[in-house]
Subunit: 366 residues, 2 copies
């Protein structure tokens, strides 16, 4: 395929690298000649001579900053009347509306909005990687007017990067990322914010629960301000729902005895939502068995542990290491399919590993 | 030491097992003769003949359900006039007040409240483990009236189980667990609750951020209703603070342009709070370098990976495995001290591992 990329920042340059590796023909364009040349030097594609047009591209990818994406998309639809035009912005509805206002009706059929859900904390072509999209979801927003051959081209390009294509309506996409990404970010930040004035001796009681809830609270404020602003209605709507449930909990705590049912319900509804999160490989939700192992905190110990697990021919679905405050001991949680739990425990115990607990779920620890 | 344990459920029996292993002399008492005998049969200590007293114990540990702890503590102070009496309940202030109302002033000096921060989802002596407390915080609540020899005995007992002792005022303890444990639990449940009515195609976009924020939303509603009710004032107070910040965010999203400063500040305050969470080994917060490795999802691969890391003689501080939806590929994040990051990346690349990104922080990914 012949693909033209406008905007050679992190996403544009990474896409160029990925497609060039697959022997697609990539041309690059950026308002900054330096950025454009850098991406080309890194191997993301060919530089276009100033003022020139790309040679009849099949796909034009707009990978500019989101606040200029709409006019660049509209202009690309005019400049390349045969091409399918797509983009990589993380909020879709408002962008589609802005493009619709700028172009004629039939041209809109050639625009297919996308959101590859990949990124990193660094920006610019210098941070680009050909495998940035590998194993990440790539959302494609089409509707009934989208010609199937154009849709097929965009999907082929996305899959060439190693991403997993997911088809979604723009509104559904924006509502989904509000719920699964933007709101969790806001709430994680708010929970972490409550630690600001706590003495360190109090924060020292932090367990794995707090660490998990607040991990993404380390995110970049500038980036997230743009994302939240771009999807403000959907994010607000979910936050308002959440606040209503929070109000109920606060009232129940105030009333004390007699209102414990409200507290039990809040936790139970959380169970219900948690069970909807899919397991590995995009399958239906899976409950794994968790085996907890105490390990000395020395180089090579994890290698021995995983070699011992590998010798048992049991596949590890997930693992995490807990931090033991003040102790030179690691607590490793290994998740396996429940049918293999007993075999794993017996196998590891026989090799001298310490397994303090053995249960299907380790959640709910006070 | 001679230690008498009243209440042979999960915590009491586990404590008995741990202390018996260390050759301390443990006697057991429970209102249920069956529970008492089971704990003894498991090796948690000696059963007391009905109606008898323990033989002059140095420490009496009350490990009953929290709603009967106060009268049992008061009674133990009378029955054992030489003993130090302690307990294991997870909320301390209300319990201390209840005990104070029941006993004479000087007897109160012999009571030292504790909260070993360990547990599991199963209950009863049958679920007991001698290493339940290993590497977990054990909070000891004493004040200026606590005789130092009695405090020393309680600390010695706690440390004999492998726990890390932390001294805290009861009020500070309750405020601390509200902030680092109880509020994160409520909020995690509320975020997960918002997924209940989302179509599975939307929830399929879930990344590691959502999974982390909602992991503890799988917790037991009954257990958490008791905990939240017992610490309702402190939990409510932190939730009200959090709600004020949430209201600010909701208002800013409604106002749109011009109020982005509020959004940026909310995320920045989250950064600040996140930085206060201590690193491993109870040290000051540490920023680790994260190296991300793509691994085929087959048995033995992790063993090879950790063997290769071990061969480089680099210590792994933390690791996690990300789930790649729809793909048979794992994404492993390995945290190391920043000084060893480059060595690790070069070493792993030379052994053929795929490292798509290489950066100090992987947070903030859109």
């Amino acid at each position: 395929m012949r693909i033209h990329i406008i905007g050679t920042g992190l996403l544009g340059a990474s896409l160029g690298l990925a497609l060039s590796e697959q022997d697609h023909r990539v041309s690059l364009e950026d308002t900054s000649p330096t950025a454009q040349q850098l991406a080309a030097d890194l191997g993301a594609g060919e530089v276009m001579p100033t003022g020139d047009q790309a040679n009849d591209p099949q796909i034009v990818v707009v990978a500019t900053p989101p606040d200029v994406a709409a006019p660049v998309i509209a202009s690309a639809l005019v400049t390349y009347p045969n091409a399918t035009v797509t983009d990589v912005a993380s909020v879709k509805t408002r962008l589609l509306e802005a493009v619709r206002e700028l172009v004629h009706g039939s041209d809109l059929d050639r625009y297919i909005g996308c959101h590859p859900m990949a990124g990193r904390e660094k920006s610019g072509a210098i941070a680009a990687r050909s495998d940035l999209f590998t194993a990440r979801p790539w959302v494609v927003c089409s509707d009934e007017d989208t010609p199937s051959d154009r849709l097929g081209e965009v999907v082929e390009m996305a899959e060439a990067t190693g991403a997993s294509v997911i088809h979604l309506d723009p509104r559904i996409h924006d509502a989904a990322v509000a719920r699964v990404s933007h709101v969790p970010q806001v709430i994680s930040s708010l929970v972490a914010s409550q630690l600001r004035h706590a003495p360190l001796e109090e924060v020292a009681l932090a367990g794995q629960g707090l660490r998990d809830v607040t991990r993404i609270a380390a995110s970049d404020p500038r980036l997230w301000t743009q994302i939240l602003t771009g999807n403000s209605e959907e994010v607000r709507s979910v936050l308002v729902e959440l606040r209503t449930e929070l109000d109920d909990v606060i009232t129940a705590l105030e009333l004390g005895a007699g209102s414990t049912g409200v507290l039990a319900k809040a936790i139970a509804l959380g169970n219900e939502g948690h069970d909807r999160i899919p397991g590995k490989h995009g399958q239906a939700p899976t409950k794994y068995a968790v085996v907890t192992i105490l390990v000395p905190d020395t180089p090579g110990t994890l290698a021995t542990l995983f070699k011992d697990i590998g010798d048992l021919d049991i596949n590890v679905e997930d693992f995490r290491m807990d931090h033991a405050p003040g102790q030179k001991l690691g607590i490793v949680d290994v998740s396996v399919v429940p049918a293999t739990q007993q075999e794993l425990e017996i196998g590891l115990l026989s090799k001298g590993w310490q397994i303090p607990e053995s249960a299907i779920e380790k959640e709910g620890i006070a």
